[in-house]
C-alpha cells in the first residue's frame, strides 16, 4: 500500500512538473513567434509588396500621374525589341564580368601575398580594405576629376612617367568604360580580398608544410593547394561581385552619367533614365524585372557550380 502511494505521488509530481514545463515552453514559443514577426512583416511591407507593385507596373502603362493602366506584355515586347536595351544589357554584362574577374583575380593575389602571415599583414589587411569603406560616389567624383586630361592627377602621374598627360578617356565613347571599370575594381577589391583571405586562413598550415617537404615551389603551392581549396569562396565572390557590379549605380553615375552618349549606360542607369527622365515608368519596371531575373539565374547557376565542386574537392 505504502509503495503504491509513493508511486502515485511521484507520478503526479512528475506529471505536474512536465505540465508546467510544457506550459512555459508554449508561452516561450508564443513570445518567440511574436518577437520574430515584426522584422518579417517590415521586410514584406518594404521589399515584398513594392517588388510586387514593381512587377504589376511592368505590365502597365504609367507616366507618373493617375492610375497605372494594365497593358499586358507590351512593355516586355518593347524592352526586348529595343536596341537600346540590348546594347545596354551587353554593356552591363561586359562591365560586370570584366570588373568582377579583374577584382577577384587581384584580390586572390593580394590575399595569397599575406595569407602566410607575412610581416605587417595586419597593416595591409586594414589599408587594403580602405577603398571599400569610402563612399562610392565620393571616390568616383575624385577619380573622374583625376582622369581629366592635363589637370587630373592620373594624367599628371602618366605625364611624369613619360606616357603623356593628355588622355581624355572619359570623353571618348570607345574608352570611357575603362576608367569606370578601374574605379569599380579599386573600390570593390577590398571586400573580395577579405573574403578570400578568410578562406585561405582556414587551410591547415600542415598541408603547406607537407608540400614544402616534397619540394613544391610557392607558385606550385598556390596553384595546387590554395586555389583548389578556396574555389567555393572564389566562385561565390565572383558571383557576388558580378551581381553587385551589374546592379551598381553610384560609380557609373558619378563618373559619366552613362555618357558620352550612351557609351557607359549600364542597365541601372538606363532604367533610371527611362523612369525619371522620360517618365516611362512601366517600361522601366519591365527592364528592372528582366535584369533581376537574369541576375537571379546567374546567382543560382553559380551557387550550384560552387556546391558540386565543393563536394568533389573534399
Amino acid at each position: 500500500m505504502a509503495t503504491i502511494h509513493t508511486t502515485v505521488k511521484a507520478t503526479t509530481t512528475t506529471r505536474s512538473g512536465a505540465f508546467q514545463r510544457r506550459r512555459s515552453m508554449t508561452s516561450s514559443r508564443i513570445v518567440a513567434w511574436c518577437a520574430i514577426a515584426p522584422a518579417a512583416i517590415a521586410l514584406i511591407l518594404v521589399v515584398g509588396y513594392p517588388a510586387l507593385d514593381g512587377l504589376r507596373l511592368s505590365f502597365s502603362s504609367w507616366v507618373g500621374l493617375g492610375e497605372p493602366e494594365w497593358i499586358g506584355f507590351d512593355n516586355y515586347v518593347q524592352a526586348i525589341g529595343s536596341s537600346e536595351m540590348r546594347t545596354s544589357l551587353l554593356l552591363t554584362m561586359a562591365y560586370a564580368v570584366g570588373s568582377a574577374v579583374i577584382m577577384v583575380a587581384l584580390a586572390t593575389l593580394l590575399a595569397a601575398a599575406i595569407s602566410g602571415g607575412a610581416r605587417g599583414s595586419a597593416f595591409y589587411r586594414v589599408v587594403w580594405f580602405l577603398p571599400g569603406v569610402a563612399p562610392a560616389t565620393a571616390v568616383a567624383v575624385f577619380w573622374s576629376a583625376s582622369f581629366q586630361p592635363g589637370t587630373g592627377s592620373v594624367n599628371a602621374v602618366l605625364g611624369a612617367l613619360g606616357l603623356g598627360n593628355d588622355h581624355a578617356w572619359l570623353a571618348s565613347q570607345q574608352t570611357a568604360i575603362y576608367p569606370v571599370i578601374g574605379v569599380t575594381v579599386w573600390s570593390g577589391a577590398g571586400f573580395a580580398f577579405l573574403l578570400l583571405l578568410g578562406a585561405m586562413e582556414q587551410i591547415p598550415v600542415s598541408v603547406f608544410e607537407a608540400a614544402s617537404i616534397d619540394g613544391a615551389s610557392s607558385a606550385r603551392k598556390f596553384f595546387s593547394i590554395t586555389l583548389p581549396l578556396v574555389r567555393p569562396v572564389l566562385v561565390i565572390c565572383l558571383m557576388l561581385e558580378i551581381i553587385w557590379a551589374a546592379n551598381g549605380f553610384s560609380v557609373v553615375y558619378a563618373m559619366t552619367q552613362g555618357g558620352p552618349g550612351t557609351a557607359t549606360e549600364t542597365l541601372p542607369l538606363l532604367i533610371y533614365k527611362q523612369a525619371f527622365s522620360l517618365s516611362n515608368y512601366g517600361l522601366a519596371s519591365a527592364m528592372a524585372v528582366i535584369s533581376g531575373v537574369i541576375l537571379i539565374v546567374i546567382g543560382l547557376v553559380s551557387l550550384r557550380f560552387s556546391r558540386s565542386r565543393q563536394g568533389a574537392s573534399w
Partner: protein
C-alpha cells in the same frame, strides 16, 4: 632559385603598389582640398601652391542656391539614426528569438531574408517613389532612413543569427533558473554580451547608409534634404570652377567614415566574416 627571387620581387611590388594605390587617393583628396583652382591645375599632385582653408567654409555652406555639406551631413546622420533604430531593434530581436524556435522554422524564416536580398533596387525604385509621393514624404531623410533600416535587415538578421547560434546556452539556462522571463533574458543577458556583434552590424549599416546613392537620388529631390553621397554629385556640377571646394566636400564626406573604419576595423572585418555585406 632565380624564379623564387622573381616571385618574391613580384609579390613585394604587388603589395607596395596596392598599398600606395589604396592610400594616395585619400592623401590627394585632403591635400587638394586646401588648394585653389590655379594650383590644382598647375600641381595636380598637390605638391606646391598655397593653402586655402576657406575651401572648407565654401563646401560647408555650399554653392549659391544650394545646400552645403553642413546640411548634407546632418541629413546623412538623420537617415542613419532612423535606419539604425529600425534595423538593430527589429533585427536583433528577430535573430535571437528565431534561435528559440525549431530548426525548421529557423530555416524558413532565414530563407525569407535571403530572398529579400535578391530583389534588385532598380525594381523597388519606382514603387518607393510612388509610395513616398502619395504619403507626401519625398525629400524626407528620416523616411528614407526607415527604408534603409528594413532593406539592411537581411544582413543584420543573418549576421546576428550566425552569432546567436553559438551563444553559450548555459548562460541563458542559468538566467531562466534565476527566474528571468524571455524578454528579460534577452535584454539583460544576451544583449549586453553581444555588443561586439551589434557594433559590427551597426558599422556595416553606417558605411552603407553613408554611401547609398541609387535610392537617395530619386527619393531626396530637394537639395536641402539630400544626404552627403547625393549632395556631392550636385557639387560636382556646380563647383567645376572651384575644384578646391569640391575636394573639401570630398574630404568632409570621406574622413568620418575612414576614421570610423580605422578605429573599429576589427568589428567590420568580423561582421564580414559572419557573412555581412554593405546593404
Amino acid at each position: 632559385m632565380i624564379t623564387s627571387t622573381l616571385a618574391r620581387g613580384a609579390r613585394q611590388i604587388l603589395m607596395l603598389g596596392w598599398t600606395l594605390l589604396a592610400l594616395v587617393p585619400f592623401a590627394l583628396i585632403i591635400l587638394l582640398a586646401f588648394r585653389n583652382n590655379t594650383d590644382i591645375y598647375r600641381y595636380p599632385l598637390g605638391v606646391g601652391g598655397t593653402y586655402h582653408p576657406e575651401n572648407f567654409v565654401t563646401a560647408w555652406s555650399g554653392p549659391v542656391g544650394s545646400a552645403g555639406m553642413g546640411t548634407f551631413l546632418a541629413n546623412s546622420i538623420f537617415a542613419f539614426i532612423a535606419a539604425l533604430i529600425v534595423n538593430v531593434v527589429l533585427g536583433s530581436v528577430a535573430a535571437y528569438f528565431v534561435t528559440r524556435l525549431p530548426q525548421r522554422v529557423t530555416t524558413i524564416y532565414l530563407g525569407i531574408f535571403v530572398a529579400g536580398t535578391v530583389v534588385p533596387f532598380v525594381l523597388l525604385l519606382v514603387p518607393y517613389y510612388r509610395l513616398l509621393n502619395s504619403l507626401q514624404m519625398l525629400s524626407n531623410p528620416w523616411a528614407l532612413g526607415v527604408l534603409y533600416g528594413v532593406l539592411a535587415l537581411p544582413t543584420t538578421v543573418l549576421v546576428l543569427n550566425a552569432y546567436f547560434v553559438d551563444f553559450p546556452r548555459e548562460l541563458v539556462e542559468a538566467a531562466y533558473i534565476d527566474g528571468l522571463g524571455d524578454l528579460a533574458v534577452f535584454m539583460r543577458v544576451v544583449i549586453p554580451l553581444s555588443k561586439g556583434a551589434i557594433t559590427a552590424v551597426s558599422l556595416l549599416l553606417a558605411i552603407w547608409v553613408w554611401s547609398e546613392t541609387q535610392l537617395a537620388i530619386v527619393l531626396l529631390q530637394d537639395s536641402g534634404s539630400q544626404t552627403a553621397a547625393v549632395g556631392i554629385l550636385g557639387f560636382q556640377g556646380q563647383f567645376t570652377t572651384n575644384l578646391g571646394a569640391l575636394f573639401a566636400g570630398l574630404t568632409i564626406i570621406a574622413i568620418p567614415v575612414v576614421a570610423l573604419y580605422l578605429v573599429f576595423h576589427r568589428y567590420i572585418t568580423k561582421g564580414i566574416a559572419l557573412g555581412g555585406v554593405f546593404r
